[in-house]
């Protein structure tokens, strides 16, 4: 299976989904006009990955600077796909990275935690440089 790599733009994040290492990354800002269009290839990729999910270890790192409310729903869909991979036999975790001062981002992570009870969803603080 091919990896999926999308370079970041002013309004969309960098995405790298690597089937060999099981490392998945979404980093940058997600404020596109049409988030559905942007997130569809990601969800399609995760759907295809299901076939080889059994006994795999997967971790998704999400480190967003900004995201709009339309993206918030798409992100939840991505997280739900990850939960499905767990149901298919993979060990999964999601890391939601926040800057220490960013209460809004931490709050958003807590909301996702509440909505995704069956998977490991960690809120992590980015260490200062």
């Amino acid at each position: 299976m091919e990896s999926l790599k999308i370079e970041k733009t002013l309004n969309t994040p960098f995405v790298h989904l690597d089937p060999d290492t099981g490392k998945l990354e979404i980093k940058g800002r997600s404020v596109p006009e049409n988030p559905l269009e942007f997130y569809t290839p990601i969800n399609d990729w995760l759907e295809r990955f299901k076939a080889q999910a059994a006994e795999r270890v997967l971790s998704l790192d999400v480190e967003l600077e900004y995201f709009n409310t339309s993206s918030s729903k798409c992100l939840l869909d991505v997280f739900k796909k990850i939960a499905q991979l767990k149901a298919s036999g993979a060990a999964v975790e999601i890391n939601w990275w926040c800057e220490e001062f960013d209460d809004d981002m931490i709050e958003a992570g807590k909301d996702y935690q509440d909505l995704l009870e069956n998977i490991t969803f960690n809120i992590r603080i980015i260490a200062e440089q």
Partner: protein, 187 residues
């Protein structure tokens, strides 16, 4: 009377600025406005938390405006008003656009409901919408006002000025207090 901009210029503190835009509010125009605001905030706002919050709220307000503009007569078109004001003690973000009478009631009910909720209730309401399936017909999550209210931690102020029986001009105004954070200055 002619407006004297030299006076406006001189009265404004260096760290203050006002940006006021009327025109097409498509995604491209909104992006340009946000780029200017982000750039100015970078130098004008020392507190990273406030900087991020303000930029986030501006993004949501203006994208909301862009998404929800309704098609009217040729004359009104798809134009809207986007305002950003930075003062020493607060930021003000405002949007304005024409809405049809039938939308007015819906918007009012939604904002009044949001304003009536406590912080915790607002969080639950947000989660409830986020967790529900699907998008609106406009491709949005229906979370705009809720998110703005949560992040700004204050009431959303609005006004409808009636143009005629059919149309009203809807103004939304959000205020974000500016917090001095000396600790973060010193580092």
């Amino acid at each position: 009377m002619k407006k004297d901009y030299s006076q406006v210029y001189n009265e404004m503190q260096d760290e203050n600025f006002i940006l006021s835009y009327k025109g097409q509010v498509g995604f491209v125009q909104i992006n340009s406005l946000l780029r200017i605001i982000e750039d100015r905030l970078e130098t004008a706002e020392q507190n990273p938390k406030t900087r991020k919050k303000v930029y986030n709220i501006a993004t949501e307000c203006y994208q909301n405006l862009s998404h929800h503009l309704e098609k009217h007569s040729e004359e009104i078109g798809m134009k809207g008003l986007a305002v950003f004001e930075a003062y020493q003690d607060k930021y003000i973000i405002a949007t304005g656009n024409y809405v049809f009478k039938q939308s007015e009631q819906k918007i009012k009910e939604k904002i009044d409901y949001i304003n009536s909720l406590s912080k915790e209730e607002l969080r639950e309401y947000h989660k409830q919408i986020l967790g529900s399936e699907g998008f609106s017909e406009k491709g949005t999550a229906g979370l705009g006002f809720v998110d703005i209210a949560r992040k700004s931690e204050g009431n959303l102020r609005y006004e409808f000025s009636h143009l005629d029986d059919n149309l009203a001009f809807f103004t939304l105004k959000v205020e974000i207090p500016r917090i001095e954070n000396k600790q973060e200055h010193s580092s």
